[in-house]
Structures are given as C-alpha cells and as structure tokens.
Symmetry: C2
Subunit: 204 residues, 2 copies
C-alpha cells in the first residue's frame, strides 16, 4: 500500500464518517461522501466495495471509540465521588468533540441491534460493568450511599451525560427566548453532574 493509497482511503473514511454521522445509513448518499472526499463514486467502491461495508467500518470505529471512552473513564481505583467527577469530565469533554455521536449510535443500534455485537467484544464491557457494580455494593455496605438498584444507577449515570447531546435541538426549542447557551450549559454539567448524582444516592 503506497502512501497515496492511505491518504485517499483516509479521506474517504473521514468523509463517510461525517456523512453517516449526520444522515445515518439510510439517509447517506455515496455521491455526497465522494464529493466531500474530493473523489468520485467509483473510488468508494474500489476501496470499500459497497455502501454497507463502508458503513460497517465507520460504525465499528465510532461505536468502539465511544465505548472505549466509557471504559477508560470508569475503569480506575478511585472512590465513587472521584470516579463520578472523573467520568463526567472525561466523557462530556469527549462528547463535546463528537456531539452527533450519541444520536447516531442510538439510531443505528435501534435499526439493527446486532451491529453492536460486531463493533467490539463485550468481555471488556462486562468487566467494567462488574467493576462498577462491585464498587457500588462496597459503598452501600460501607454506608456511604443508600441501597440502590445497580442497573438504575448505570442508566441514570449515562442518561445524564448522553441525553443532552441527542436532544440538543429539542432543548434549544423549549428554551428559546431565554439566555440558554448550549456550550455553557454543557460545560456546567461537568461539575454539576457528579454533585447531582452523589446527592441523589448519598445515604441519609
């Protein structure tokens, strides 16, 4: 593979990433991907054979990236409070760089749940889950937090960071004519959410 190969293949991949993220699989057009990559349609097929294969490559990359971030942000030996601070800071900073990712991944998973299984091995994912759950058990046993259903905790944890990105347009509509500013709003959440979660679950 020559250097030029690599460049073109990357340009295609990057353009496809943008288009698929914006429009989804069924909404994306090969012509638009070619245009944005600055090449023609035939080359897309030369490198990726079909729209489905190109999509698969992009999806696996993006979904993998997102889950890797969950993992590195959660997999450490901090106390729950520290872990929440670390998680929300890392995770929200990541989503700020990829604001369309949540909506994209959620939509495509709903279209075809099997895709997730191909995107990455789930041993890793389950290890993280078990880690977090063990920590919750320990903190409950130590009396730091109130007994709480662990899946509920996990769902709330993710909902609070992910949802605003997927629902940005809705929020902006509801809050129009106020001084709402999405970027400021998101930055605030990096510190507000750890506090919010801790208050919600702290033992009384």
């Amino acid at each position: 593979m020559t250097k030029n190969d690599k460049i073109t293949e990357d340009r295609i991949f990057d353009a496809a990433t943008d288009v698929f993220e914006e429009q989804g699989l069924s909404g994306a057009r090969m012509q638009e991907i070619a245009n944005r990559a600055g090449i023609n349609k035939a080359l897309l097929h030369y490198y990726y054979r079909s729209k489905d294969r190109l999509f698969e490559a992009v999806f696996n990359r993006l979904a993998g990236k997102m889950f890797d971030r969950f993992i590195t942000a959660l997999d450490n030996e901090m106390s729950l409070q520290q872990k929440l601070e670390h998680f929300y800071h890392e995770h929200i900073t990541f989503l700020q760089k990829h604001p369309k990712l949540p909506g994209f991944v959620l939509h495509e998973i709903n279209q075809n749940p099997e895709r997730l299984l191909n995107a990455f091995g789930n041993e890793q994912l389950q290890r993280i889950r078990d880690n977090l759950f063990a920590q919750l058990d320990a903190e409950i046993a130590a009396g730091h937090i109130a007994p709480i259903d662990k899946p509920q905790f996990l769902a709330n944890l993710l909902a609070l960071s992910v949802f605003p990105f997927a629902a940005r347009n809705m929020l902006e509509l509801v809050l129009q004519d106020t001084d709402f500013n999405f970027d400021d709003f998101i930055n605030q959440r990096k510190t507000l959410l750890p506090e919010f979660m801790m208050n919600a679950v702290r033992a009384k």
Copy 2:
C-alpha cells in the same frame, strides 16, 4: 367523505406511523407502508400525495402527542415533589405504550430541526416551561431545594425518563447475563425517579 374513505385513510396513517417510527423517513418504503395497510402504493399518493406529506402528517401527530403529554403531566398546581411523582408516572406510562417514540422524534429532529416548529405552536410549551421555572424559583426561595440552574433541572428531568427508551438495546447489551428485565426496570423508575430527583436537589 364516506365512511370507507375514512377507514382507508386511517389504515394508511396507522401503517405509516408504524413504519416511520421503526425506520425513520429515509429508511421507510412506501411499498412497505402499502403492504401493512393492506392496499397498494397508488392509494398512498391518492390520499397523501407524496411520501414527504405523509411523513409530515405522521410526525406532527406523534411529536404533538409526546409534547402534549409533557404538558399535561407538568401543568398543575402540585408541590414539586407531587409534581415529580405525577410527571414520572404519567410520562413513563405513556412511553411504555410508545417505546420507539423517543428515538424516532430525536432522530428526525436532528435531521431537520425546523420540523419541530411546524409540529405545534410553542406558546403552550413556553407557558409550561415558565410555570415550572417559576415553581423552581419559589421552592428555592422557600428553602425547600438548593439553588439549581433551571435548564439543568429540566434537562435532567427529561433525560432520566426518555433516555432508557432510546437506549434500550444498549442497556440490554451491557447488562446481558444479569437478571435485567427491561419492563420491570422501567416500572421501577416510576417511583425511583421522583425520589432520585428530590434527593438530588433537596436543600441540605
């Protein structure tokens, strides 16, 4: 309009609702809508002229329904605690009957934010928002809850109820091999979430 007209038009509308909710605008096929309605493609155009118009009718109906529910569940004179209990019970019960609605509406709004403006007048929406915000101000002034940014409160309120429906497949993957059951999980949230929110914001 004869009785038969109405029946056919409704069958089309219902079939279109199902297909669009599942596959989105770009993923839906007129042929599949016709099949599910038990009529042929030509009739779709006879009644709705084009795919876009049919979609618009369906979207406006669904989005309107969802927002109406927000509104009736929030627009009342209860205390904050009661309001949260009422809201989550009503809203989650509604979403249980329309589990694909959140993913659908979020996706289509991201594709075309203008759609929201046509779906309903926003005076109503803003009235509710202002109501809720006024109540939050009052509860803060009365010392019942800690000072909190109102848009943050609203975002958290919605995130906690809506997100699990949009992310069901993801949750089920992460929690596979546990005794996770989505329906039970959702039912629990009707009572867990009011408590969770109140703990999170209660004055200390």
